[in-house]
């Protein structure tokens, strides 16, 4: 099969800020202006737009259209991504399909959110009757439940979760876009003594909602070259799964959508786990990172703790993990969060990692997680392999 000629030909990312007082539109504008400046494209060549449903503007069902007006764009293809932290990688995949089908030629995949300034999401549905009243109002309690079950079935070591948090913090120290609050090193002692919020989940296992944005230019290699763009990466494979085991009442909640899509993803890319030069997994909680090492076959199921403890996961190491600090240590810009991990992967493959640059990387695995469902693990699992 001929390799796809569709590429990510540019990226932009704003610094992550807490209670910035700014809107998703304003962050989107900053990301778009930065993308135009870094790629050198004319604004009006953009004829496709994918945006992420942001928590801060979720009460507006026409957010995507409002965004085109705010940015002065007239796209022939628009996508409104409602799979949370999967909307960035999912948006790139959908843009690639749209370009292949001729709906547009140059799409911007834009995620902007400002929930620490303005929270306008209301999940509605079953939650007011069956979930919120029992105290499971946000993700921490559901992840506490998931951790308890994982620890019951497998070995879960504090030191492994701590190593994930500490390593990502070290990476955030080298990231100018990371939240200033997190710009201090973390010790294992600090990790272990940090406040438990939903047993056994600690505050340092968790993310903090912030504000920010990111944007990606998706087009064909040929077209990017005509615009004089030199740096580009190829999405070699993408896969997603929503509501894994959705027709079962009592599935094993330690079985995630990632485990299901991983074989397909690697087969499509023609790669195996050992070929991955960096892992940029969605990291709302450390347990999700640990489970993804297993789900993508870096180690066997249930051996994530030992794998993390035995592996150098720093940017200098064997399998660099979330080299920008991830969401846990750079800050989670609301539902624009999935683009944070993706931006770091593209940045590294472009060789623009600065003080945290991985040596000559050729491949990256990026993932997304979207939505916390009732008594399961997470709603959508999405993953993309990028090749330099």
């Amino acid at each position: 099969m001929a390799k796809s000629d569709i590429v990510i030909a540019g990226y932009a990312e704003t610094p992550v800020a807490f209670r910035s007082g700014r809107s998703a539109y304003d962050f989107a504008g900053e990301a778009l202006a930065s993308l135009i400046a870094s790629t050198g494209i004319e604004k009006d060549v953009i004829d496709g737009l994918s945006v992420t449903v942001p928590l801060s503007e979720a009460s507006n069902p026409f957010f995507a259209v409002y965004m085109t007006e705010a940015l002065g764009l007239s796209p022939t293809w628009t996508n409104y991504g409602g799979i949370g932290g999967c909307s960035a990688t999912g948006g790139v995949a959908r843009a690639a399909s749209a370009i292949r089908d001729g709906y547009c030629k140059a799409a911007v995949v834009l995620s902007a959110d400002a929930p620490s300034t303005n929270w306008r999401a209301n999940y509605g549905a079953f939650r007011g009757e069956f979930q919120d009243p029992v105290g499971v109002q946000g993700p921490p309690a559901m992840f506490g439940l998931l951790m308890s079950r994982y620890a019951h079935q497998f070995k879960l070591k504090d030191e492994a979760l701590g190593k994930i948090a500490i390593t990502q913090r070290e990476h955030a120290l080298l990231n100018d876009n990371a939240l200033p609050k997190f710009k201090k090193p973390m010790t294992m002692e600090e990790y272990k003594t940090s406040r438990v919020i939903a047993d056994p989940l600690r505050v340092l296992d968790s993310v903090m909602f912030c504000d920010g944005a990111n944007a990606f230019l998706v087009t064909t290699r040929e077209r990017a070259e005509t615009w004089g763009i030199k740096k580009m990466v190829r999405p070699a494979a993408y896969a997603e799964l929503t509501n894994v085991n959705g027709n079962q009442a009592c599935p094993d909640i330690t079985e995630t959508g990632f485990a299901r899509i991983a074989p397909k993803l690697f087969a499509k890319a023609g790669l195996k786990p050992a070929d991955i030069h960096m892992f940029q997994p969605y990291d709302d909680f450390t347990i999700a990172v640990l489970m993804q090492f297993e789900d993508f076959g870096f180690c066997k199921r249930g051996e994530g703790s030992d794998f993390v403890l035995a592996t150098d996961i720093s940017y200098r190491g064997k399998l660099p993990l979330n080299t920008g600090g991830g969401q846990i240590s750079a800050g989670q810009p609301g539902l624009a969060s999935g683009g944070l991990n993706l931006a770091e992967a593209v940045r590294q493959l472009f060789g623009e990692g600065g003080r945290r640059q991985i040596k000559d990387p050729k491949t990256a695995l990026v993932t997304g997680i979207g939505v916390i469902p009732y008594a399961r693990n997470w709603g959508t699992s999405a993953a993309m392999i990028l090749e330099a």
Partner: protein, 139 residues
């Protein structure tokens, strides 16, 4: 069972799907769940169709309210409706009828709540009606 109402808000029925039978039963301190007549299986939380067959051939059936803890946590940070309820033991309870519910474990020491422990229904009194919870079974 405490007769003093908890801070937990009384849920409004029929917001999402027709849940009035669930809350009417709860008012009698009975637990009813949706039952798929096509496949002979229960489901929870209530859905607009059977998650097994996709049909609306579902009815409400009373269940025993006994089960086993599948996952558990203790919430230690404040949130809306949690005033005076912390630390709050929350469990995913697997009922003997083959569904899971997330519920509070009441009338029990949170330190004793553990995966594999048997639980039985316990009702928390609200300003209006009762809300299903569980407590550790004796023995």
């Amino acid at each position: 069972m405490s007769e003093k109402p908890t801070a937990r808000p009384a849920p409004q029925a029929n917001v999402y799907v027709d849940t009035a039978p669930f809350w009417e039963a709860a008012a009698r301190r009975e637990l009813v769940l949706q039952y798929c007549k096509d496949t002979g299986r229960f489901q929870h939380y209530p859905r607009p169709v059977s998650i097994y067959s996709g049909s609306r051939n579902i009815e409400w059936r009373k269940v025993a309210g006994k089960g086993t803890i599948y996952a558990c946590t203790v919430i230690r940070i404040p949130g809306p409706g949690l005033e005076g309820r912390l630390p709050l033991a929350v469990a995913t309870v697997e009922l003997d009828e083959g569904v899971r519910m997330i519920a509070n474990i009441v009338e029990s020491d949170p330190a004793d709540v553990a995966i594999g422990r048997r639980v039985e229904l316990a009702w928390e009194k609200l300003e209006r009606g009762y809300y299903p919870a569980f407590k550790l079974a004796k023995g």
